[in-house]
């Protein structure tokens, strides 16, 4: 347990260290890469709550990621144009206002989708979550008001009181801060009665029921929290790019978020972050070598699934055990 905690701290230190070093060396681009890793890692931390601890293999988390992104994009574009939203709400470019909207929106979606998907199990669950995410994806594509297929640019990063969100390191600090909050929340939740019951329900639903634990409400709660964290990551990702598009909701995105979790290590606190960091590093390094770098990522992924179950953190741990 202590060993796992050490690995988590190391991963986090590596991320923050990279960003600080890059800033110190005058490489703002690398700071932005670290920010991207922090945001995608946060999305993975969200998924890990459902997938790792709850045993719910959601293949549709891009839906919440995209909803969070669209919450940021739509609010910011309304703030820019001065057009009010339906029901008299006005747009805003304040992150502190955007984040709750993003989280509530993605949480509501996760509530509906989760409640329907949890009627099924196993492979049905995987496919049903995937299909619901596709439904939102096609909705985003065919809804012309916010750019449809072309996506929605909002040019100016939203603001946070007291910070300049355009300065790479300050934006990184926001994202890394939220990431740490989410990691802390996950650690707290999984050690709580709720978390233990959730893991019991994953490991053996029959016995959990015999102990008087009803899996459904536990799993739905975890699924909604999971969607909310991923939605928050989506809002940050939109701010990173100052652009949202249906691609954020695409099933490839769902696959990528899942890859972060599994690459890093399922049900390990910092696993998703480690996975996201490695993925972005690979993208950065291999992308320079070959335009077909995704094929190399695919082969690497295949090797990890076939030969190193437990992901990078699992591998590191095994090696240390000798």
């Amino acid at each position: 347990m202590a060993r796992a905690g050490l690995a988590d701290a190391l991963v986090l230190a590596l991320l923050i260290g990279t960003a600080l070093t890059a800033q110190f060396m005058g490489q703002p681009y690398l700071v932005t890469l670290a920010t991207k890793a922090a945001i995608l890692g946060l999305a993975g931390v969200g998924l890990n709550l459902a997938l790792g601890y709850g045993g719910m293999v959601s293949f549709g988390h891009a839906a919440y990621f995209g909803l969070g992104g669209y919450a940021a994009g739509v609010l910011a574009s309304h703030a820019m144009s001065g057009q009010p939203l339906p029901f008299g709400f006005s747009g805003t470019n304040q992150m502190l206002a955007i984040w709750p909207v993003a989280m509530i929106l993605s949480g509501l979606a996760a509530l509906v989708i989760g409640a329907l998907s949890l009627r099924t199990r196993g492979v049905y669950f995987i496919m049903v979550t995937l299909a619901f995410a596709q439904m939102l994806f096609y909705f985003a594509i065919s809804w012309p008001a916010y750019g449809g297929e072309d996506g929605l640019s909002f040019y100016v990063r939203n603001s946070f009181p007291g910070l300049n969100t355009f300065a790479p390191l300050q934006f990184f600090a926001i994202c890394a801060g939220l990431l740490m909050l989410a990691l802390g929340l996950t650690a707290m939740l999984t050690a709580s009665r709720f978390g233990l019951a959730l893991q019991a329900a994953r490991q053996n639903p029959g016995r959990a029921r015999a102990l008087g634990i009803r899996p459904f409400p536990l799993q739905l709660t975890a699924f909604v929290l999971s969607g909310m964290i991923t939605g928050l990551a989506g809002a940050l990702y939109a701010d990173l790019n100052r652009f949202v598009s249906p691609a954020m909701m695409s099933w490839q995105m769902s696959g990528e978020i899942m890859v972060f979790v599994i690459l890093g290590g399922v049900a390990r606190l910092a696993g998703p972050l480690a996975g996201a960091m490695v993925f972005i590093l690979l993208e950065h390094l291999l992308g320079g070598v070959s335009e077909h770098w995704l094929a190399l990522v695919g082969l690497l992924l295949l090797a990890i699934v076939l030969f190193a179950p437990g992901g990078i953190l699992g591998l590191a741990e095994r090696r240390r055990h000798g």
């Binding site: 997938l51 049905y124 439904m135």
Partner: protein, 307 residues
């Protein structure tokens, strides 16, 4: 909407449904027999389409292309089963999803590397390129009609194969209890490779047929794959009959929804917003259909109970 147009749209829905059936049948067979969820099924569809386009362009014969699509997809399927899938049967679905997701990346980039990023085009064989007059004053493209016929023939063939042949008995037995079947002397490894190659060949056939109606490009398999998932969730995993009924339901719902919904909404609201809302809702219709089926029957229409 005039009746002839309605009939034409219904035929389009039928053709789309038959195409989805070819995809879904392979997926559901592989899941039913081996308990494996294969995301790379869409890549096999793409391989079929590319093989058909390449061979048809080289030889000038669509039929050779079609044969090549079956052969290439079946070969790719068998190869993938031997090299990768074989190691995944005993793993949980998560590993299967991830490994086959990785296969998609490899196949897509590999195809892009060989054929480039530009779409290829396939032309319809001459004697199927014209329209056909149907009773009731409807004219309909002969090739689309041929897809319907091929789909129906494959459905009948599969029912016969699964229900009436020795291979079918083994497939069903393997589905029920693989240890006992292996103990009875059936080479379960070879059976699995054969079933996987059969599913792959069906996907390849679908790819070649659709490549003729649309264009052949990298990434063409994934949207169809997800629709095939919707089909087997609706029909019930592992059931060929479910795949057929589900595919026709999805094909009809999608096509008729897209054709009818905007004009139906235009009766009650102004045309431009009717068009926007109509097309947005129409693109979600099949997922709504899926949700309704799930609420009523979580195991799908012909499913054996959710696994």
């Amino acid at each position: 909407m005039p009746l002839t147009l309605l009939i034409e749209q219904a035929l389009n829905g039928l053709q789309y449904g038959m195409m989805l059936f070819l995809m879904a049948a392979g997926l559901t067979l592989v899941f039913g027999v081996m308990g494996l969820i294969n995301l790379a099924h869409g890549s096999l569809y793409m391989i079929g389409a590319f093989a058909c386009a390449a061979v048809a362009a080289a030889t000038g014969s669509f039929w050779l292309g079609l044969a090549a699509s079956l052969a290439a997809a079946a070969a790719a399927g068998a190869l993938v089963e031997l090299l990768v899938i074989r190691r995944l049967y005993a793993r949980d679905h998560l590993d299967q999803v991830l490994a086959t997701f990785a296969l998609i990346l490899v196949f897509s980039e590999g195809t892009r590397w060989v054929f480039g990023s530009f779409p290829l085009y396939l032309s319809v064989p001459p004697f199927l390129s014209g329209p056909v007059s149907l009773p009731g004053g409807v004219t309909y493209p002969a090739f689309r009609l041929a897809i319907i016929v091929i789909g129906a023939a494959v459905a009948l063939g599969l029912f016969w194969l699964i229900g009436r042949t020795r291979l079918g008995i083994r497939i069903r037995a393997g589905e029920a209890d693989r240890e006992i079947v292996a103990a009875l002397g059936v080479d379960i490894g070879r059976l699995y490779t054969a079933v996987f190659a059969l599913g792959a060949a069906l996907a390849g056939l679908a790819g070649a047929l659709v490549g003729t109606v649309q264009s052949v490009q990298v990434g063409m398999g994934e949207p169809v794959l997800i629709l095939a998932f919707v089909v087997i969730v609706i029909g019930g995993i592992g059931s060929i009959r479910g795949a057929l009924v589900g595919a026709l339901l999805v094909g009809m719902t999608d096509t008729l929804g897209k054709a009818l919904l905007p004009s139906a909404l235009a009766q009650v609201m102004d045309p431009s917003s009717a068009n926007a809302i109509g097309s947005a809702v129409a693109s979600m219709l099949i997922y709504i259909l899926m949700a309704v089926v799930l609420v009523l029957r979580p195991q799908g229409l012909y499913g054996q109970g959710a696994r």
